[in-house]
Symmetry: C3
Subunit: 675 residues, 3 copies
């Protein structure tokens, strides 16, 4: 197994974050102090130039890069590398004033006014022309700088545009997709319903807020198009940079599970994936360990987009963020825990937004390493400094990756389709939560699942989990059949296999596309329960588990019934089934149960697959990364109390001692066991 760190020059884990010296050019004292404090905090890389267009080009055609050159030089001389951003995240006022068509049009058809950020039209030719000039100049000036590590394309891409340009591109996109055959589209979108047939692609409009919203296929394609269009814009920026110097890698920073863009499509164009993590630590609805697990799920989703290499934690905050409903301060130790969770999950970097708090505007109170107070003796600074020191202890982790045997399928268009489906109850669909709860349950058994696309290669895995796997892409039914036939374990739930990629219902029984044969059942009806309604499943072993929200009535053709409903008119009907198919097994859970109540099923599935779990105390997270010669086990104690683990052996790089058997972890402590 090969091991390639994302950044060889860094010589270990990157520690740094966004740095906006352009806000302080009139304060050379502060800029000098920044370098000094960065060194104290163990910062080895900063991100420059995010949102710097108005400084780079204050008037059209007038460019200023000297300041940036000087700062990059200075940083480099002090051992600090640079990630350089393209500034397309926000446009200078002169650009919007002269070229208003660069501004986005919203779903109501109104063109935005200048302001805020992330609101350009992805299709605007003039905007592409202007950003190309800018990016080319940046590349010409800085691509060869010795401190230059990586291009950071734009910032947190998001949103959508309904301008005439984008409408036309949408129509072309559809024509391309449906082979220029409008009847193909009419059939796929079932437009004969409500007299919605189109005679030509030119007649199709996006789902304006006062327009068409009732064609599910159109709604879905609009979302796919927005991803395509945003990706196309990003590719344009990348091509300009590569045209100048091809070998500087590129990334862009994703936002958690942002619903608006299928990040997996964008990831294909990047050299590495990165994301910005802002959990609501210490909130009023869950424990710290639960908050951590949610974040670990996000890490897993991002990581699985480039499974062969580490990813980057591009942004996080050492203190409080400023845009949550409640901006609670991160308690001592929580920062250490979060930073090591990123590394444990496969990140080669720990980065912050931002280095120093600005004095004004929207994010003046967003947490930063350096406060308005400006000193290096604040609690926050000292916690960052400590993380900087600890990361220096684990240089060999860089470049290692996890190797997981269980995968959960989580598709962006499945999210969109479930969300848009006129069925069930809008209030309780909870697709993402359903996935996360099941994922957490595996984590608690010490088994970390990857979170993959249905288009991914299934061959590295022994177990596939399919929660609410509503949309079946072409060929996926056959892929699953093949996976099970060859010995794989599959577990699917209610609301699986109802529609094809265009959201047309399968005829002849759900789950469709051959899956009812694999599972040996057909779902005849799906009942939606009110929040106060309850049913239950009685398993053959006598165990009874509560059912909420959804329950399907199954016709069982040739499956084993593992559990039946307790009450209502479908009492005694099958609720959980298992079918041996080929060399493998196919489990079907026809109703919503708590993930904890599904644990026995998961244990059985893992056991079938020969995967050993781990006996973890509550609140302790466990991850493993594998390298060319060594592997690293990570233990994170989010339980809030001291924990003693047994059966651990190897060298704890954090505690700097050999462990053989017993590992004691204080609250918020972490251990990295080298093997």
């Amino acid at each position: 197994m090969e091991q390639t760190a994302l950044f060889e020059k860094i010589g270990g884990i990157m520690h740094g974050g966004d740095y906006n010296p352009e806000q302080w050019l009139d304060r050379p004292d502060i800029l000098a102090k920044d370098i000094e404090m960065m060194k104290k905090a163990g910062v080895n890389c900063v991100t420059l130039g995010v949102f710097a267009w108005a400084v780079h080009e204050p008037r059209e055609g007038e460019f200023h890069f000297e300041w940036l050159k000087e700062i990059m030089d200075n940083l480099y001389e002090n051992g600090i590398y640079t990630i350089l951003a393209t500034p397309s995240g926000a446009r200078p006022a002169w650009l919007d004033e002269k070229y208003p068509e660069a501004m986005r049009v919203d779903a109501s058809g109104h063109r935005a006014h200048h302001g805020v950020r992330h609101n350009h039209c992805m299709s605007s030719p003039i905007f592409r022309e202007k950003i190309a000039i800018m990016d080319r100049k940046l590349a010409e000036n800085f691509a060869d700088h010795p401190g230059m590590l990586l291009w950071h394309i734009s910032n947190e891409f998001g949103g959508e545009c309904y301008c005439p340009h984008c409408v036309k591109r949408f129509q072309n996109y559809l024509a391309e997709k449906f082979d220029h055959d409008i009847d193909k589209l009419n059939h796929a979108w079932w437009t004969t319903f409500w007299s919605h047939r189109f005679n030509s692609f030119d007649q199709i409009e996006p789902p304006y807020s006062n327009g068409e919203f009732s064609i599910m296929g159109l709604n879905l394609e609009w979302k796919r198009f927005t991803t395509w269009s945003m990706t196309d814009f990003m590719k344009w920026e990348i091509s300009v940079l590569r045209d100048v110097k091809a070998d500087v890698p590129v990334t862009t920073n994703f936002m958690k599970l942002y619903d608006g863009l299928d990040y997996r499509e964008m990831a294909k164009e990047l050299d590495m994936v990165s994301w910005d993590s802002y959990p609501a630590f210490h909130n009023d609805r869950e424990t710290l360990a639960e908050t951590m697990l949610e974040n670990a799920f996000d890490h897993a989703v991002i990581r699985s987009m480039k499974p062969d290499r580490p990813f980057m934690l591009m942004e996080s905050v050492p203190g409080a963020v400023n845009w949550h409903p409640f901006n609670k301060v991160k308690r001592p130790g929580a920062h250490r825990l979060a930073c090591f969770q990123a590394v444990a999950s496969g990140s080669d970097t720990v980065q912050y937004f931002q280095w120093r708090k600005g004095r004004g505007s929207f994010e003046q109170y967003h947490g930063a390493v350096v406060d308005h107070l400006g000193t290096d003796d604040t609690r926050i600074f000292k916690e960052v400094e400590e993380v900087g020191q600890l990361l220096k202890k684990i240089p060999d982790v860089a470049g290692t990756i996890p190797k997981n045997q269980v995968a959960m399928i989580f598709d962006w268009d499945n999210r969109w389709a479930i969300d848009d489906a006129m069925a069930l109850a809008q209030e309780t669909k909870n697709y993402e939560k359903t996935c996360m709860d099941i994922w957490d349950e595996f984590m608690k058994m010490g088994v970390e699942p990857d979170v993959i696309s249905s288009d991914s290669d299934f061959s590295p895995y022994k177990v596939l989990i399919l929660p609410m796997f509503y949309v079946l892409h072409d060929g996926v039914g056959a892929k699953i059949k093949d996976f099970v036939a060859k010995g794989g374990q599959v577990l699917a739930t209610y609301f699986t296999g109802y529609v094809d990629k265009d959201l047309l219902c399968h005829l002849g029984g759900f789950p469709g596309d051959g899956l009812s044969e694999v599972f040996g059942i057909i779902s005849e009806e799906i009942d939606t329960l009110y929040p106060t309604d309850r049913n239950a499943v009685r398993f053959t072993n006598g165990k009874v588990c509560e059912v909420r929200d959804y329950a399907e009535m199954l016709r069982v053709s040739d499956a084993e019934v593992l559990g039946t409903y307790e009450t209502d008119y479908y009492g005694k009907m099958a609720a959980v089934t298992k079918k041996k198919y080929g060399e493998g097994n196919a489990y079907y859970v026809a109703c919503r149960m708590a993930a904890t109540d599904m644990k026995d099923l998961f244990v059985e599935v893992l056991s079938n697959a020969g995967i050993a779990g781990k006996d973890l105390p509550e609140g302790v997270e466990y991850h493993v990364r594998y390298g060319a010669e060594k592997s690293f086990e990570f233990y994170l104690n989010a339980s809030g109390k001291q924990i003693t683990l047994s059966g651990v052996s190897g060298k704890d790089l954090i505690g700097e001692k050999e462990i053989s058997g017993e590992l004691i972890l204080d609250p918020c402590a972490v251990a990295v066991i080298e093997k």
Copy 2:
């Protein structure tokens, strides 16, 4: 008494529903199976052509009716009649593309984009021209078809349009209404308030969301105009059809108590009324019997629009709908109960939306007789099949009608005016609920009230109930006075008789227009209670009942005080009064009590009127239909348990046996007793 069934050709109760074969023209196997399955389910009529414009006329001026002809022929040959819809419910894309003025403008002044449905401008000349061509061709091709039963005009009319065309028509409508005298309008709308006087009708605009909303008279006339304009459009469609062949009857399908249109005005233009019923069965806030009663109220409102003939249940669903907040499956038997409730309430039809689920788009999961699974052995199909068989047992019911002696006044413009009134508390006005609760209380005593307009003929009735009868149309005060004087019983509540038809307050004491003389009281103040506030009424018999939300302080001139308030500064003041006026009695209930607490009053009123109630077990509904020679009593058991009724005699057409005294009904069972 004459007895005329709505559809002689059907020879009994119609059973059928919406059928959209145009979605399956590429699947002749499915079309063939449909006929076969319809016959199995006892379907004798289907509704064709709803939303079929894009299939009828795929390009402007290019018409295709062969497919429809073939299907109508085929259905007819198999004993299945057709209700044919005009397709104005949604426009084809080519029409909106070429004639955007056919699309509606919303209250913010924005023209809609193409899409969805029910969004045409009612005034658009080009839209009228295009639909006239279409309707004429439909009539020419199908009016004489032997299977043709009825025209179904458009579909679920609704909404409103603020386009320049409609604004102009609104101004003309007002000029007409106020005799082209702007000062008449100024006085009626009290426009001197806030300097709102108009100099000409041209200055008046509809209540745009960013315009005038503070003239109550204008708001009300805009709603009246919208009804007028929608009716005018409907009349246009009807006139085109009648021009080709005058004797095919017409209807359109109403939506429950839809607030946007005064259905009573529209009903005048129709040969029979029909509506679409979608109760939220088995919800989390009430019992099945309560849900049923709400639906029975809706039946009563619709029925009372054409009291001399049966109505139609045009749409209902055998399974789950797909657009409720929670789309729960209809439990076994509930379908039977709902279908027989329609017939019991006066419907000659039981129809569904729809026959077969489409594969895609907005209603792909709306319940249907035939599921995506496509077989005739599903639970739902079998329940429909059973209803089909049972309906065949009661052919003589067709054409019979109820004859009720109690009426509740429920005016559309009273709803609008109460809703818009800047008084009381928006949150607790609950006009409709107040009416329904009182109506239910009568039903529980086995006495079904009609639900009529204040413009209706009062002479068939002995009792009039006036809940929150806020608006008095011209002459209604005198009509009520006359009704009581001649021996009628009237019971009114708080918030009665405050304003005239233009919403000007009566001077000299509420209730105005002579009613304070009839009731012998004047309401000096009305108190609005917070939801946690309580008062109570102590009746002369010592009974004490809780008061919530509203309480009027009465000046009693010459009425008997039946109850007084218990607390607050109006403790001891009159809360419930009775006055003998002429040969009748006038009761006034000055505060909001639970309808159940008003039962004693209702009993007294019925007793005064010589109307005998019935001792019904909880959860059992009772209706009667009268024919030329026979009458039919309906018993519906929505109690959830087996019920034994006594005092029943006659032939139970469902159970097919003579009943003399005791009738046993299983849960969800129905009995139809012929007398």
Copy 3:
């Protein structure tokens, strides 16, 4: 001390209100009855002409004032004076029809339609031209009328306009403010953040709803500009009136603590301030005494705008209002209490909206002295009549004013900035409530604080309270330092001194601008608690008080620690401090506690300042007004029960007897003790 009544001609307290005879010109019988009933109710002044433009000038250039002349004459002959309004609160339809640019544009960029009220563009030249013609004619016709007392400029100014005219004026306003130096603005608004630098003032737009909302400085200046622009319009009206006759005084009626306009700026242009008071009496969330105290706070804010003279209660309602969520009737006696609270707080008037209820439109149910019933024997009329009689007992109170030694700083732009700050938790910021709760606590000790601006003169005061004093205007840090140094007592809370007037954070520690030296502390972090989170403060005397919402972590340099946190990672850290600075003391309360829990601190502060409190029974309010020779103590019993007060001496003008020691007050009773 000089004593000048606002209106010498009135000879005591004014009693009256809005009167709209123009709605009844066709009913001379009603107009005659009005005069007769006014006299019975002790009305000595009415407000005419509010919203009368369409009657004054029914068509452009056609003026009618005869009716008004006749009514003013008639009133005057009956001893009733007139306050005359300019009618700019709403425009006639002909004006908007011909000059649509007079109508406002909203934040989404849409021009309003004609209608409603208070929706003119403050910058529109044509609107200014038209209102100038009108105002000049009113002045020419009525300024010399013997019954004329005061100009009432427009009505309840409010709202904002985003039209091109206003945008241009905003840009000019900014250019003026920032010395035509765009870089000055760029620095003040920290525009380098997110690439928001402007190259010229022309590029700046207001915060459109689909535009820039992320520059805090811009948001704040937009609000300041709106106040400036509205004031400029008001000054225009005043200048026209003064041009005709300079010595008629002017006012306009404010709306409570209306957030949209900094009333203190407007007040500078007025001869006296007046406001409209509509508390939600008898609501479900607080006692009557609490509702009264909230209203007293509003009186204090308004009064402090012109501390050297009385103010006016321009509008209030004797019964129920019609636009509250719940329009509950005012209970007997509450009206008396409210009227005397106004006078006790420093008002020389008790006025109502309105005299007689109109028959139609938006406010037909708004409480009035005369109901639709039209008689003088209603409960409401009789309560008004009683107040009229009681006010006649205290003529000498007119012109007296309070003299308070405690002041709370409450700045409009502090409200705006806190509200807009991206920090803390939107849901729990509660700036106004925090101020009111503290103010109430002083009131309960018999000490009424003024509520002043940070730009006010601090010299009349011994104690300054600074709750959440986030924004420091230029020089205010020094002013406070000076105040304390010279012996003043200051008490500030968390979230104080974070930013300067442009909302740039102070560097080097909060509170900035020298205040950390005064308090001897620096706030290093501020924690935002979830609503269910709790901490506590343990005071040195052992008392423990609950902490919610916010808690700062202090670095104490040279202050005495009065209390420390109990739990969490900042347990044992300082929560409340005190520093002797110069001759005075500076207290800092770093966290949110209930105002009742801060009482000990307040007692200490008052004691330091030598201010004696009063031992008041719960629910009794106490105010004092001082005149040239006499002072008047007001006792208001809002406790709901009979109260016996001790230590009272002087003549009770209401009870008309000498009190020496014991004063007994019935529920809702008031006493005015002359000394």
